[in-house]
């Protein structure tokens, strides 16, 4: 187990380093004067030079690269071009708000999708199964912002359930915040339902056909006991992996949802940064999301190893 953990940790660090390198390459792919690009063609040369010196963009590329790698290790992403404040001061509060939305979305989607997946697997190829599989296919293939826009027009505008602007006023109690966050969270929950339900279904079907499930049934355990004690433990491994991957990928879809609901999370922050070409904020947010992805997939692998002794034994030998 310890060796397994070490190996996973080292490979996660290498991936993170490569990720930072890719992001650095994208940002610096266009040669040119960053200060000139940000301040525009009419700014005086002296101001442009001062700007470049302040940001360190006049230094050689290699030096900038080393600084940017150092910044990830220390979780310090430099200063925002636009506001001048530290990038971390901009992205961490935004991440906290997005985290609330994401947590609510997962709380809605995980139990429903796993239940739907189990039901579909037990009624394989019957009408219930077909409905769940096809609804899942549709829900995971529609872009999140489309679902969000449709929910907003139907529920918030037509039926007046939920709020059009998802930002709760400061001082709102967590319970009252729910009515602001529920619709955007639902839009995200719908997007993840498909993957999770289909994954669970496939996992359960595979375990139902396995020898250990047959042995457990023949030894006289009830259907429920077989399901809980033998099938779910194995079948949920791919589902856990998918959830962990979704935690990172969620930030792709959350941008659209936050834009539709005018929610001031990390997604909106990145959009503003993209519009104002505030590269350090955008770069910092992207790297932070990469780190979150790494940590969540690492935790998922450990959880799977803890659930299934075969995984730990196989990899430690």
């Amino acid at each position: 187990m310890r060796r397994y953990l070490m190996r996973r940790l080292v490979s996660a660090l290498i991936t993170l380093w490569l990720l930072a390198t890719i992001v650095f390459a994208i940002v610096n792919v266009l040669p040119g004067n960053i200060g000139r690009k940000i301040l525009g063609p009419f700014a005086p040369q002296s101001e442009v030079d001062a700007f470049n010196t302040r940001l360190g963009t006049d230094k050689p590329l290699l030096e900038q690269y080393i600084t940017s790698i150092k910044n990830i290790v220390t979780l310090d992403f430099g200063d925002s071009y636009a506001s001048g404040s530290a990038v971390t001061d901009v992205i961490f509060p935004a991440l906290f708000r997005s985290g609330k939305l994401a947590l609510l979305a997962f709380l809605i989607t995980i139990p429903i999708s796993i239940a739907a997946g189990i039901i579909a697997a037990r009624r394989q190829d019957k009408a219930t199964d077909r409905v769940i599989v096809n609804v899942g296919l549709a829900s995971s293939s529609i872009p999140e912002f489309v679902t969000a826009a449709v929910l907003l027009s139907i529920f918030c505008v037509h039926w007046k359930i939920g709020k059009v602007f998802a930002n709760p006023p400061p001082g709102t109690s967590p319970i009252d915040q729910l009515q602001y966050l529920i619709m955007p969270a639902l839009a995200m929950a719908i997007a993840y339902f498909g993957y999770l339900a289909r994954m669970t279904r496939a996992g359960v079907i595979q375990s139902l056909q396995s020898d250990y499930a047959r042995t457990a049934t023949m030894k006289g355990l009830s259907k429920g006991q077989v399901m809980r004690g033998h099938i779910l433990r194995n079948a949920l491994a791919p589902t856990i992996t998918v959830i962990s991957v979704q935690i990172g990928y969620l930030f792709g879809g959350i941008i659209g949802v936050e834009k539709v609901f005018n929610y001031a999370g990390l997604g909106s922050t990145m959009l503003v940064a993209a519009k104002t070409r505030d590269i350090p904020v955008l770069q910092g947010a992207v790297l932070l999301i990469g780190i979150i992805y790494m940590v969540s997939t690492l935790l998922a692998d450990l959880l799977i190893a803890a659930l299934n002794p075969r995984v730990r034994l196989e990899t430690s030998s």
């Binding site: 792919v29 791919p238 992207v286």
Partner: protein, 307 residues
């Protein structure tokens, strides 16, 4: 059925599958016959037929464009924000343009960029995957790491970052999306190639003294065409998804082009005033196209993976 292993297997090598060995044992004509049989099975699936019908309608709209729209999609002379009625079935937008005409003409942008991006991404991914799987060793180790790093981030994010630094022309969107699709395709092709690499036909080709290029592209490639076709159909779906989302986020083709994502982005601001039609119809159009492409992909996948 979705095979969970196929999705999360990652870069680890599997043992050569007996199915693949059987495919090799089959002669050329038998392979052709099997392919024809698969194609017949795919064509008969209701999901495939429905998906293709919807796609065909949008392709027709994209090709005909202004010639069949009831109004000029760029003409802003009628009253702004008319609700759907007999003259304007889907209503008009904030500058008085016909929403129906704009939805019909809006199919063009996404249908021009998305399939092309998917094809380029798959071609690049196939080349990379063949090299990684067949040449292997150091090259494979290094490239696998890079592929994994790319997969650690949602495509939308890297695309947003790249388009912010490169500017948002249609060409940049096309290039960025296809490059970002390459790693996923490469990973799939790589694991398919690993299952083929040690089979007898490859060994005998080596003994005949064939070049690596010949073995990769003429011997192995035809035998991994199944996963590649599946990957292509799935990627087209993702490309539509990605291009629509990027244009909603303002990183797509510049206005006044009647793009669906851009229309939703223009329309959602007036939702709170009760004007739902400028958002709802283009959103529905995106949803219908994405679902249609995924229905096709799903039918192809379930037939090819069962055989």
């Amino acid at each position: 059925m979705i095979d969970p292993d196929a999705i999360i297997a990652g870069p680890s090598a599997g043992p050569p599958s007996p199915v693949a060995a059987e495919a090799v044992a089959m002669g050329m004509s038998e392979r052709k016959q099997a392919r024809r049989e698969n194609w017949r099975l795919i064509r008969r699936r209701p999901a495939f037929i429905i998906g293709n019908t919807i796609v065909a309608v949008w392709v027709f709209c994209a090709i005909m464009g202004e010639r069949i729209t009831p109004h000029d999609p760029l003409d802003f002379r009628s009253t702004p924000h008319l609700s759907p009625g007999s003259d304007f079935w889907f209503g008009t937008d904030k500058t008085g343009r016909d929403v129906l005409s704009r939805v019909m003409a809006g199919a063009r942008d996404v249908l021009k960029i998305a399939p092309l991006a998917a094809v380029i991404g798959v071609v690049l991914g196939v080349i990379l995957g063949l090299l990684m799987g067949y040449i292997g060793k150091r090259l494979d180790n290094v490239l696998s790491r890079i592929v994994e790093a790319f997969l650690a981030l949602p495509v939308i994010l890297i695309a947003l970052l790249a388009i912010t630094t490169l500017g948002n022309s249609a060409w940049v969107v096309l290039g960025v999306v296809s490059v970002l699709f390459t790693p996923v395709v490469a990973r799939t092709v790589r694991s398919a190639v690993l299952a083929e690499r040690d089979l007898d036909y490859v060994t005998s080709a080596k003994l005949r003294g064939e070049s690596s290029g010949f073995i990769m592209f003429r011997e192995i490639l035809p035998n991994v065409s199944g996963p590649i076709i599946v990957e292509l159909t799935v990627r087209v779906g993702y490309a539509v998804f990605t291009v629509a989302t990027l244009s909603f986020l303002g990183a797509g083709p510049p206005p006044p082009s009647p793009d669906w994502g851009a229309q939703v982005s223009e329309g959602y601001v007036s939702l709170s005033a009760g004007i739902w039609w400028t958002t709802f119809f283009p959103a529905l159009a995106i949803a219908s196209l994405v679902i249609a492409v995924n229905l096709i992909a799903d039918s192809v996948q379930s037939v090819l993976e069962a055989s």
